[in-house]
Amino acid sequence: MAIEERAAAARAAPAAAPRWVHGVLLVVESFWRWYRRNWRATAVSSVLQPLLFLLAFGLGFGSLIATRPGAAAATGGVPYLVWLAPALLAMSTVQSAAFEMTYPVLSGFKWQRVYLGMAATPLTGAQIALGHLVWVAAKMTLTGAVYLVLIALFGGAASIGVLGSLAAAVLTGAAVAAPVMAFSASREDEGAAFNALFRFVVLPMTLFSGTFFPVAALPAWVQPLAWISPLWHGTELARAAALGTGTAGAVLGHLAYLLALLAVGAWLAVRVFTRRLAP
């Protein structure tokens, strides 16, 4: 068929709004197209940075404590690198969630305004918010898988259970991404609040969620703070999957916490997007 005929045929069909889930997927497709062209720019932060953590702590720091008697007790007898790797996986998705859902989201409203372009089409605020969230989860799965391969190459993967760790890491990343997305979408300023978010929420969370040492090593009065950290729940889950150390009750508890955070965050993000795109 000639181009003109094709165009005419499609023109005859009345334009209609895409169905609900289809609309979400169209937003995902748009981000995917952007990523296909620009992935090199984000590869550094999403793969190289976690790799440096793996080298510095897993290999460097790990060799230092390998012979210390307390270390084996803390890791349950497995090498420090094997104990650390699932937690690093979760940490990397949380960090990329915080990164992906701050400036890029504000830019969608303020600088590039791509959300505003989408909102002029049949897509709704809810489809735009959820589409971006689904995309970020998909991208975390992709970069997480690359990270997992690197971890395995350095001997950090003890069993096939690390695939479960990847799933746990993606869930944790999504559970952090959703409320951060809602927060960013509600900002009217130039993103000054994001610095506070990185310094006072993300950084302490990555240091004190049991990634590098067990939470039990913290003073008793600090430990409840770790329990509200989604990364601690994600770390426990990822480790349980990789090392086979989880109890059913604990695993269900961590899952419930992360799923609840994801649900509430997504609900808030949809609300804020809908209001901001149709004031």
Partner: protein, 307 residues
């Protein structure tokens, strides 16, 4: 007007305590180019956003393409083309990718979108830049791309919010020419502008808005005929021998004294000029021109349109 594409009655929009649109009636018919003319803050863009179904109305009734935006927003938007006041292109993607991705938002098949993008690149005269990123393009090219993008779903109604603001004269004329071509193809257009020459060039019919209400309505020629004289004599005087308004009023139907010049509204500018000369008035410069919508606006609101 049963076949109107847009029908608004006592349409209002309030943001907190500020009422941006204060009860307007609008009818836009199939195939016409309809304009909202007014200064910044007149309520044009707020009205436009309600018609575009991206801003719920506060009260009044509104029908777009026979549907209610509150209920059928996505279905209406599927048949609209929107050129926003500020470009929201994805500047990190190519010109072609911007068109294709936008077409996909309407759920159009990939093959169709590819063919449509090629056609629109021709229309916007951007075929040679198709694979370039959007970022380094000139303002005029970005604007043409935004207009091309708004046509990706073959819209029944095209909404253009200040389409040429910030462009140089050459880019503006090229855009006008493209919009005129769309008009000939029968695409109904609604345009907001604060440029009276743009409104005169493009619009079949327009409303003049000020302070959230419509102060006049008609074709550009009708508005000029009704609210102004055929010609205008523009005079500039040295500050020391600026005459009293009364001395000027004797030679014109109406006089507007602006900070930098005086406007004499008269049927025959040359004759008024001769009469002034005979009366001994010596302006630094005198210019006879035809009335424009700017004069209509000045008459209706007592203010000039731009700044």
């Amino acid at each position: 007007m049963g076949d109107g594409l847009v029908q608004a009655r006592d349409l209002r929009k309030r943001f907190g305590t500020f009422e941006a649109v204060r009860g307007i009636d609008v009818d836009v018919a199939q195939g016409e180019v309809f304009g909202f003319l007014g200064p910044n803050g007149a309520g044009k863009s707020s009205t436009m956003r309600m018609i575009a179904c991206v801003s719920p109305r506060t009260s009044g009734s509104l029908q777009v393409l026979g549907m209610d935006p509150d209920r059928d927003g996505p279905r209406i938007r599927a048949r609209l083309g929107v050129v926003p006041q500020l470009d929201n292109l994805d500047t990190e993607l190519s010109v072609r990718e911007n068109l294709e991705i936008y077409g996909r938002y309407f759920g159009l098949p990939r093959r169709h979108v590819r063919a449509k993008a090629a056609e629109l690149l021709e229309f916007a005269r951007l075929t040679e830049r198709a694979e370039d990123r959007v970022e380094p393009l000139s303002g005029g090219m970005k604007r043409r791309l935004t207009i091309a993008r708004s046509l990706v779903n073959d819209p029944d109604l095209l909404l253009l919010d200040e389409p040429t603001t910030g462009l140089d004269p050459q880019a503006r004329h090229l855009l006008w020419e493209r919009l005129y071509q769309l008009k000939r193809e029968g695409v109904t257009q609604i345009i907001t502008t604060h440029y009276m020459d743009e409104a005169e060039q493009l619009c079949d019919r327009l409303v003049v808005m000020d302070g959230g209400v419509i102060v006049a309505e008609g074709s550009p020629a009708e508005l000029i005929e009704r609210w102004s004289t055929r010609e205008v004599l523009e005079l500039r005087f040295a500050p020391e021998d600026r005459p009293a308004a009364a001395d000027l009023e004797r030679h014109a139907e109406r006089v507007e004294v602006l900070p930098d010049r005086a406007l004499l509204y008269t049927a025959d500018g040359e004759r008024s000029q001769a009469a002034l000369h005979a009366a001994g008035l010596r302006p630094l410069s005198a210019l006879v021109r035809r009335s424009t919508l700017e004069d209509v606006f000045l008459r209706l609101t007592g203010r000039t349109l731009v700044d």
